[in-house]
Symmetry: C2
Subunit: 150 residues, 2 copies
DNA sequence: TTATTTGCAAATCTTTTGCATGAGG
DNA sequence: CCTCATGCAAAAGATTTGCAAATAA
């Protein structure tokens, strides 16, 4: 009774075939530190000499979202759809406005806040998404080359 | 020295011409309780017998975003770009997953959290966006017609 | 008058779909 | 085998762009 569940097992359990394309997309997302667009996934796979069609990527991504293996997000700046693995952990995005890199944060202080909203607004809360915008350390340091902040 | 600043004044100040299309779009967003898509704006204006081109709407919206009069958002579900007036107040979205209606919440408990992130992650925080997903009161009541939750 | 804005049509980009072929269980 | 997944090409939908005409200051 291992606690480690492989994607293969999850796919099986959901009645989805264990195809090479599904696996390579899942593996790619697994190793990525960032959520990726369909196009980025396409380019990364082509780079790995994997022959795949963009429409297949879209179809695989949609299937995986529907089955809860991955999660859809999007960026405010350019309204692109991003995909990331559903780690089943509570995570939020820290977005650098300079380099556009996304860092995950797992701390979340909102349970209490959600309760309040439930009472005040009569909403049943199912979840939330928090994106924090700023400038990351390395971009800030680059910007300050030659200039003094003080 | 009135404290009420009109859009006309803001446009002037930014060196933007005070055109009928810019005004009708701003007026529409002013009266809307929800963020709107470019297309929804187009249809609403056509409905008001205003003759305008969709590309003009996109150009006006982009100009207004660049000049900070309106704000761009987007929905996770269908990845549409939404526009809303920049009220310069701190607001968050409460999104009903059934009727897709968006309600604004103005309470925000995150100043403290942001400080923490700044220290921990070395980020300069510029702002954040919070979207809370759930089911609104009226949708929940509709769902429960005939069925018992208990 | 002169720079800015707008309309129109066409281009671009992302995502979806139909259909015939191929692969997994 | 038989269903589900994939490739390919074409469609669909959202947004942008080039250029000429209209308009605000």
């Amino acid at each position: 009774m291992s606690e480690i569940i492989t994607y293969k097992e999850v796919l099986n359990h959901k009645g989805l075939k264990n195809t090479r394309h599904r696996n390579s997309i899942l593996e790619l997302l697994e190793t990525s530190t960032q959520p990726l667009t369909a196009d980025q996934i396409y380019l990364a796979l082509v780079n790995q000499k994997i022959s795949i069609n963009l429409s297949t990527i879209y179809r695989v991504l949609n299937t995986l979202v529907e089955n809860g293996l991955i999660i859809k997000t999007n960026t405010v700046s350019d309204n692109k759809t991003l995909f990331e693995l559903n780690s089943f952990e509570h995570k939020h995005h820290l977005v650098c406005m300079e380099c556009k890199k996304i860092t995950m944060v797992d701390e979340c202080p909102f349970e209490e806040y959600e309760k309040k909203l439930k009472e005040k607004m009569g909403y049943t809360i199912l979840g939330h998404k928090l994106e924090i915008y700023g400038v990351c350390k390395s971009c800030r340091e680059k910007e300050n080359n030659g200039k003094s902040i003080v």
